[in-house]
Symmetry: C2
Subunit: 65 residues, 2 copies
């Protein structure tokens, strides 16, 4: 499933995928894959993304049943 929350949070920060990728130290493709879903990033990467966007893990990566 797509990660809409992350895309919205990124756009609220006026960042392109490339900007966020640079900010967290990965490639643009990796960011694209995460937003597109069916991808499984590592915890450290998730945390770094959250901090770059001013969100928490639950905000961006937790889905209630």
């Amino acid at each position: 499933m797509k990660n809409k929350k992350m895309k919205i949070a990124r756009m609220e920060c006026d960042m392109k995928q490339e900007d966020l990728a640079k900010a967290v130290g990965v490639t643009r493709q990796t960011m694209g894959l995460i937003e597109a879903g069916n991808y499984n990033p590592t915890l450290n990467l998730c945390i770094t993304i959250c901090k770059a966007l001013g969100k928490t893990l639950n905000d961006l990566f937790w889905e209630e049943i």
Copy 2:
């Protein structure tokens, strides 16, 4: 840094590392490494662990600055 929260949550459920490992479909060693820290699990594994222990991502894996 050690993940004390996870160890405490696991013991509250009266599970050994091996029980939790079986419940989430990984090996005992993997669980031990995550609790010991200096390890970087994938997001899906973190989510599966949270659900097995009745916690959220923020409960177990989020540290406030």
